[in-house]
């Protein structure tokens, strides 16, 4: 594999991962300071960002002006779905969302500049144009989640308590993998940025609503195909004690870490394949 061999000899996977995180941290720090030289603009954009993301939930609240239940679920339950899905998407967007501009980076030659630095190109791409204003979404989603947790009537057993942070972490990994995986399409199809939106922003919108309102085929599609259901639907069934519309074994409700690992692995393979195609190694 072209990129794993380094001059320092056999670098372990762990060292490589740590170096990636450090490179990301350094670059993101630079971008943050650069953005902060336009402070007023930053505050305005952060505010606008929170307003835009709040709109989605406001619409859900308006819907509940006309009904008590949607697909049999209550407003606090939708708040739980909204909050968890929003945090996962928002954190993924914060960390790796910049990959969506891969096509533009290739056209501008920025990717080449990344390839001549001694740091993993993916880490640099993820940090490119990093902005803390992307915190708007996770912060707003966290507020909704906090409200829903107080309004929910849940018997908090230890496994339910534990599932919440686990699903947030796994959800972030799954959305990150979707960002990266679908961004790699742009190695071949430079303008296909919006495809990624369908699965990231579209996926998060899907997860705002309970699985009961969708066709069973669609629900099955996001369990066995693009595994969005593991972000919050499946664990939420356990936490909120709701029946599974597909009648899957209960193990699925705890399986988010497995799905997240699988997603990360596939995204990694796709990225490598894409970079190989770009540099002209494979094929």
């Amino acid at each position: 594999m072209a990129d794993t061999v380094t001059g320092a000899g056999a670098e372990t996977l762990l060292e490589r991962a740590r170096w990636s995180v450090r490179a990301w941290w350094l670059m993101a720090g630079m971008w943050t300071r650069a953005v902060m030289s336009y402070r007023a603009s930053f505050v305005l954009m952060l505010g606008a960002n929170i307003m835009i993301t709040s709109l989605d939930f406001f619409v859900v609240v308006l819907m509940f002006q006309h009904t008590d239940r949607l697909g049999g679920w209550t407003l606090p339950e939708l708040g739980f779905l909204y909050g968890t899905s929003g945090i996962a998407l928002g954190m993924a967007n914060l960390f790796v969302g910049s990959t969506d501009a891969l096509g533009a980076r290739i056209r501008a030659g920025t990717l080449d500049t990344m390839l001549i630095r001694p740091a993993p190109a993916l880490a640099q791409l993820c940090a490119e144009r990093f902005s803390l204003r992307r915190l708007g979404r996770p912060v707003q989603a966290a507020a909704v989640l906090a409200w829903s947790l107080t309004a929910l009537d849940v018997a908090w057993t230890w496994d339910r308590v534990l599932l919440v942070p686990v699903l947030l972490l796994c959800g972030t990994v799954i959305f990150s993998a979707l960002f990266i995986g679908f961004a790699t399409l742009q190695f071949w199809w430079g303008e296909a940025k919006e495809i990624q939106n369908s699965f990231t922003y579209g996926g998060a919108t899907l997860l705002h609503y309970p699985p009961t309102i969708f066709a069973k085929e669609l629900v099955a599609g996001v369990v066995f195909g693009i595994p969005l259901a593991f972000v919050n639907w499946l664990p939420a069934l356990r936490i909120l004690d709701r029946p599974d519309p597909l009648g899957l074994p209960a193990a699925f409700q705890y399986a988010s870490p497995v799905a997240a690992a699988l997603c990360a692995y596939v995204a990694g393979l796709l990225w490598r394949a894409g970079l190989r195609a770009y540099r002209g190694t494979g094929s």
């Binding site: 072209a2 990129d3 061999v5 380094t6 001059g7 320092a8 490179a23 350094l26 670059m27 630079m30 300071r33 650069a34 953005v35 030289s37 336009y38 030659g109 080449d112 500049t113 390839l115 001549i116 630095r117 001694p118 740091a119 993993p120 540099r279 002209g280 190694t281």
Partner: protein
């Protein structure tokens, strides 16, 4: 052992062109078509050729961005395609039209980032930065945001950034493009020092023959992906029969000037253009003109690389 070695390196791309509403045609384009050359450590080599000749594809292969379709390639002891990050620590790259400095941040911040990304030991970093700051006169600029620097200052800033980690090879793509005469001079002077004193191998692409004249002891010309000349600049002039141009402004309109060793190629009122061989000094021609004509102003224009190369091809075609 040579620092850069290429043996029969080829690189082709598949280009899809739309030929009809829905029909597309696939075509193989050979951007680099069998390059073989060595560059010794400490050399300063000019790499020139018309746009689309394969220059940037070569540079991209030498920096590890692109992988050759076939052939052998080694830079500073590593295979760029397989060991990209290891190579990155041994090379420095400067693109004339594209800065790698951080636009909104003080110049110093870009260097601090380089220190961490390249993992440069503290003492070496400080020594190198001090040297670059002194030679490039960056002292007063370190705390200035890059967006406020002039083009020339930015280019000097970029040069420093590329050299902090003591690269063995420095690739320069049009390092003097868009700069004024003074800035060009400074950049060239600095590159000469880096090359002579640090022993850094320099490979530069340029459209400015003066860059090559003043810096390089060797010129390689590429066209259609192949080397068409590899030798010194005098050789290139000889092969290309290139000419410099003396532009003279006379006090009044006169019939074409007649002096030995030069011929008038254009007359426009009091201004006349005289061509003379590029290897020759301009002094005797100037003296001869000044002796017999009322001179107001004069300037010497270097031959454009494109013209030299075009003439070279014309000769190859005839011969």
């Amino acid at each position: 052992m040579a620092l850069i070695e290429l043996e029969d390196v080829r690189r082709s791309f598949t280009v899809r062109t739309r030929t009809g509403r829905l029909r597309r045609e696939k075509r193989e384009v050979h951007a680099v078509d069998g390059l073989t050359f060595d560059i010794e450590a400490g050399a300063c080599v000019g790499y020139i050729g018309p746009n689309g000749a394969g220059k940037s594809t070569t540079i991209k292969m030498l920096t590890g961005i692109l992988v050759p379709s076939s052939g052998q390639l080694r830079v500073a002891g590593v295979d760029p395609a397989r060991e990209r990050t290891a190579l990155a620590r041994r090379i420095g790259v400067v693109f004339g039209q594209r800065t790698t400095l951080w636009w909104d941040l003080p110049l110093r911040d870009s260097y601090e980032l380089a220190r961490r990304i390249y993992r440069i030991p503290d003492a070496r970093y400080r020594a190198n930065l001090d040297r670059c700051v002194e030679l490039l006169e960056l002292g007063g600029l370190l705390d200035t945001p890059v967006r406020q620097l002039s083009l020339g200052q930015r280019m000097r800033g970029d040069l420093a950034a590329a050299l902090l980690h003591d690269p063995q090879v420095l690739y320069l793509d049009e390092p003097t493009i868009g700069l004024d005469v003074v800035s060009k001079g400074r950049v060239r002077e600095f590159l000469r020092q880096v090359n002579r004193e640090q022993g850094t191998t320099v490979l530069l692409t340029t459209h400015d023959l003066v860059d090559i004249e003043q810096l390089c002891d060797r010129v390689m010309v590429i066209d259609h992906g192949r080397l068409v000349h590899d030798g010194d600049l005098a050789g290139l002039h000889a092969v290309g029969m290139s000419e410099r141009t003396l532009v003279v402004d006379l006090a009044e309109a006169r019939p074409p000037i007649e002096v030995a060793g030069a011929r008038v190629v254009k007359v426009d009122g009091p201004r006349q253009w005289l061509a003379f061989p590029a290897q020759q000094s301009a002094a005797p021609v100037v003296a001869a003109v000044a002796e017999r004509y009322p001179l107001v102003d004069l300037s010497v224009r270097e031959p454009a690389i494109e013209d030299v190369i075009a003439k070279m091809y014309a000769r190859v075609a005839i011969g």
